[in-house]
Amino acid sequence: MKRFVLAIAVPGLLLLAWWLGTRGLEYSLIPPPMDVATEMVDLAVGGINDDAFSNMLWTNLLASSSRVYGAFLLAACLALPLGMMIGRLSVARDLLDPMFQMLRPVPVTAWLPLSMIVFGLGPKSAFFLVALGAFYPILVNTIFGVRAVEPRLFEAAAMLGTKPAAMFPRVVLPAALPSIFTGLRLGLGFSWVVIVVGEMTGVPTGLGAMIMDARQLSRTEIIIDGMIVIGAAGYISDRLVMALGRRLLRWSPQHG
């Protein structure tokens, strides 16, 4: 209870400042909190403004979520095996690691024009950008995880009769799990960041598209609602991953 009060104290104060700052102004570029709340209801269930945005929130949220999770899964399917190979096989490391190290600092947004040329203007391009954004955190943490296994554990497993071929599933993988998990969590979080950028050009649905449409019509309250929904969706998604992690990593003092 005390923690809950502390957690909402600062946001509450900011909300108050927002309300005080926009109160009674006839023409405010920033809409007051009540307008934003009213619009949120209209976005969710309609019946207030009855415009192009009414009752469209769920369609947009579903479109964005499915892109986020789809692209995230694709990124995980590529980054996990690649990371394991780069981490444990020197051939893979020599072959791929320098390339990924050079590509990694390139911001996802810098890929946008190229991605539009390759994948066309639309959802495919957004999907690609999200997958790219999620790829590196998963890759880097997987490489780190499988490389940082304590040598003592290999000795312990060997003297207990573990065959060299069984070392990977029995020692490396479980030992790397906390790192891999951190990578997945960061990757999913970053997916929610990138999705908005990806949906801002030439995509008909999605929270990013909704924000861009609202910007063109100067519907700032919808922009703010979009931001709130993205924040909430990212937060819930992170909580789900954390809950999963607590189950899988009960043994780890940093997680369990």
């Binding site: 497993a157 003297m159 207990l160 009769g161 479980p174 009960r250 043994w251 369990g256």
Partner: protein, 244 residues
């Protein structure tokens, strides 16, 4: 009694550093050996060569008549830092070896139950290593090599990181298990008292280059009294040999 371990002219060089030179050591089945010496005397190196973690630069090691070419379940190792698998419960740590050797689940379970009782950790079967004290962790480490049917147990300063009370308890427990099981134990330590308390035979080593300097049979009857005159005489003798 037949020699279960034969170490013949074993030498180990790391670059230009001679860690171990011309070590000869014959150990009978069921014998409790303590390797003792200052740091750099090659006692851990010798142990790791017998375990198969290091290869000798020269010489041969035979265990049970077969030349050692790598680590194996016949030689269980107990490390000072435990080396437990943090993601496995106490039960699964002890069952790791039997499972790795392909035993069926009910057999693994039965084996685990027996050894978990032997080291008195039945109540902690489902705990994870980070929830255990150092002494408990070392009990798990001992149980897992016993559960794996190791005939030889190699211990590398296993109680060095424990407090004095826990160390004494574990020394007693180890002797009790040893007396019951006809295990062969090679126990590395730098504490003279610990060596005399535990061993049938104390093998003293010295550095520069690492080598065996003496072997002393300890004839004292168990349980040994660390404050007895005979014990202290042995302590003086060994101490003199080590500081020569």
């Amino acid at each position: 009694m037949a020699d279960i371990i034969r170490v013949e002219r074993v030498a180990k060089r790391f670059g230009t550093f001679m860690a171990l030179e011309g070590a000869d050591l014959h150990i009978s089945e069921g014998e409790f050996i303590c390797l003792i010496g200052a740091s750099g005397c090659g006692k851990s190196t010798l142990l790791r060569i017998i375990a198969g973690f290091e290869t000798a630069t020269d010489g041969h090691v035979f265990v049970g008549g077969r030349e050692v070419s790598g680590p194996g379940p016949d030689r269980g190792m107990v490390f000072q830092d435990y080396g437990l698998f943090p993601w496995l419960s106490v039960r699964d740590n002890i069952g790791f070896g039997p499972a790795a050797r392909g035993l069926k689940k009910p057999q693994v379970r039965e084996t685990v139950d027996r050894f978990i009782d032997m080291v008195g950790l039945a109540k902690f079967a489902d705990s994870y290593p980070h929830q255990l004290s150092g002494g408990m962790k070392q009990r798990v480490a001992i149980a897992r090599v016993l559960a794996n049917n190791a005939r030889v147990v190699l211990m590398d300063e296993p109680f060095g990181a424990l407090d004095a009370m826990t160390r004494e308890r574990l020394q007693d427990e180890l002797l009790e298990i040893w007396a019951r099981t006809n295990l062969t134990v090679i126990f590395v330590t730098h504490a003279i008292e610990e060596a005399i308390l535990l061993a049938d035979r104390v093998v003293a080593m010295a550095p520069g280059p690492g080598r065996i300097v003496s072997q002393t049979q300890i004839q004292l009857e168990r349980p040994r009294d660390v404050s007895s005159i005979a014990f202290n005489e042995l302590r003086r003798t060994l101490s003199a040999q080590l500081h020569r």
